[in-house]
Amino acid sequence: MGLELNVININDVQFGELTEIKESALYINRSELRDLLLEDERLNKVEIEIAHPGESCRILQVADVVEPRAKIEGPCEDFPGAIGKIGRAGEGKTCVLRGTAVVLNDQSEAHDLSQAEDALGFIIDMSGPAADIHLYGKLHNIVVLPYPAEGVSRDGYRVAMKLASLKTAKYLALAGNELKPDDIEIYETPPLTEITKGMEDLPKVAYIFMVHCTSYPAIPGEPVLYGDNIRLFSPTIIHPNEIFDGAIVNPYDGIGTETYVIQNHPVIKELYRRHGKDLCFVGVILTVSRITEPERERSAMMAANMAKFVLGADGVILTKASSGAPDVDLAQTAQRCEDLGVKPVLIIFDRSNRGEVGEVFNLPGARAIVSTANQYETLHLPAVKRTIGKRVTLPSGRTCGGELDKVFRFIRGGLDQEGITNIASVRY
């Protein structure tokens, strides 16, 4: 299956009369986009703002970040199952507007903000120390602020706002579909019957990708995999291209990952880059973290079985979703792989604030661990001139635009599950 990403580099975003791209600048017809998003009756108001890298600006209550992408040709509509008809993602040509992102602001009540420690939710700073540690401060961000209509349930709003961010991503990228791309990225791997041809001597590496944690109450209608809410989910083999091309949308409760990261998945990209050179990338297994011990055991066992006996992997990289409980799923899956002779490597953020490594790694198989930094490192953030999102004053008296102390965990992109950041925790 072959996917061609037509990348258009964008170095500025402004509002304009038409939504178009001229000389690497994206212009947005604000009212047309607003009308498009208001077609969803669950929303009664939508604001759209733009934030530029380097600006003294803080974006509040960030629920997700999505890279603008639109299919140019291929067998599916954009974000199939979520906003498009169900169809095969990962094939054909997709336009990508690089250098920009759709940032989704969450206007839920403060106590409903998923995973948040306070009413600020997850923030993005466009300048200052936070902008250094995460990639979203370096992008031209189109911030979408959807407001729930009267009487819409909490979960109904969560789905509506997620869909609004995906629709925006598609709407913006359509402006680039006819243009000549600045870069073309090609991703192609054949099925298992052919993938090792010419690579018989190279180590076979697979990737086990935990996309969701089912500890949280289900949000009916929430799109995760091809629009499905994947609750009772058994490990499943999927083609890596599908992950790049909109088959997976980050769950609302999923911290440490954004849809942007999934679209630009660093582990998969690196495996592709080295495929045929020093390794053979044999495939991806999707899993979710389960809530009972038998389910966890079953999932760990099946995932390891697939890695060993179907994909024929010599080694496997594992990442996780969400917070504490999935550590156990991760470690158990790694242990089952080790038991079968498939060497596991785990990528995980360090969770303690005392310099110790995260909780659950006394399983001997979980030995090789790559850190993506300690989530409780504190950054002192300066005051900003502008904030986008629900203005709040914290109980401490600090205002949302003033000086703040924030740990990495609550900065969007500061907590990283898949290794897209440029920071790590090192023990001396």
């Binding site: 500890s215 809530i291 009972t292 409980a325 156990v328 909780e359």
Partner: protein
Amino acid sequence: MITKELERSGLPTAQISTMTPIALMVGANRVIPGAGILHPVGNADLDPSEEKRLRRVIVQRALEALKKGIQEQELFQRSA
């Protein structure tokens, strides 16, 4: 952790937990697998009489575990 302190003070303790690897790792001696992270001793998806049976089975197993003399950590698996 609470379990360890209780035992340190002399009270045999049975821990019902869904995260059994963690319970064992931290040092609980009598561990009973729970029914789910969100509902360790029940399951609202079940028919009420089934659910009552499940609750009874889990709590009963915890009580049995307390009676048992053990020399090392034990995981009291559910058979039903």
